[in-house]
Symmetry: C2
Subunit: 209 residues, 2 copies
């Protein structure tokens, strides 16, 4: 079907801008714009103001690159957090996911992306250059590489490892294995193989519960 | 999984507002907000301004309720459009879809919704009250009811029919049948039955191509 011509240039512009968001095509953008038009003006005005405030006022922490409203984020400025453990993650959502487990009291280093040569993203496009200095000046003893188990995640993890392996710290990575609640027969072969290869003492598994 | 607590109230507010859009949950809203933060500020500012302009400047036409930047929409103010044929549709997207076919040169009446008692939407919630007067004062000869073939569409169509049947105009509705390019074996039973019941002379079908 051809693209219908919209009856208003203002609507056309709104649809174009909304359709720039990831995962939102022109059809969905039009549906969202018409939804805003069909509601109380207040709904759309509040949305516009919230987005405006978001890009105007939210920054990234100068130390860990997590999002923050001030120069230093809440985690970096919290003296109760264990500065000897540093967790390297891809993005802010990973910080939220790990924080949500309540299992980690160290600090984070948010790369803001993964090395992906096919997409033209190299080491200089992610926040990795300042990592060795941060480790050396803040007394980090363990670096936990918590990156996704994908080609890009593995490439990036290896790059981080290469950059930090001579710093006389312990470098660890996330355990991979069969998920809690998952039936063995549905786990993929490689994951199951890994979880056998890196099996842990039963008593350890009880203690971690 | 529990909802992670966001590290910024401004981000929290943006996520809440974005998640009010139809079909967008909190997870997607967070992904969109973080996308805006990871891009040039300009992208987010343009989006905010486009939405602001949309709700501030786009109105609905006082005659047909289509969206318009002025009091009277482009279709209603176009003297070349055939005022004797009036097409009743659910919303603006239907106007765009019909305009896109290039097959209709009449005018529209946009209801802005369908009667849906289960959702508490009655006749007074859609733009149907002004329809009889519009028909009588503008010389409409044919009213084409072009509503979706759903329970709500049929209810609304019947309501529009009841309101207009005594106005000595012709009332028609869209042909229902097997779609162009569709295999008969995949058409649903009711549609196929309808297309047999309301079959048309072969010569007519050739002419319409």
């Amino acid at each position: 079907m051809n693209e219908p011509t919209l009856p208003s240039r203002i609507l056309e512009n709104a649809v174009t801008e909304i359709a720039k968001l990831p995962g939102i095509g022109r059809k969905t953008a039009l549906r969202l714009a018409l939804h805003l038009l069909s509601r109380d003006k207040e709904v759309g005005l509040k949305l516009a103001e919230a987005i405006h405030a978001l890009v105007r006022d939210v920054k990234t922490c100068r130390v860990c690159h997590n999002i923050s409203e001030s120069d230093l984020c809440d985690i970096c400025s919290d003296p109760r957090r264990d500065a000897s453990r540093l967790c390297v993650v891809e993005d802010v959502r990973d910080v939220l996911a790990i924080e949500n487990t309540g299992q980690f009291r160290g600090k984070y280093h948010v790369l803001g992306g993964l090395i992906n040569p096919m997409a033209g993203i190299g080491p200089s496009d992610i926040a990795v250059a300042d990592l060795p200095e941060r480790i050396q000046t803040t007394g980090v003893q363990e670096l936990i590489i918590a990156l996704p188990s994908t080609a890009e995640g593995d490439t990036t993890a290896f790059f981080v490892f290469k950059k930090t392996k001579d710093l006389s710290i312990q470098i660890t990575t996330l355990a991979r294995g069969v998920a809690i609640g998952e039936e063995l027969e549905y786990a993929d072969e490689i994951t199951l193989a890994r979880s056998i290869q890196y099996r842990i003492p039963f008593e350890t598994s009880i203690k971690s519960l």
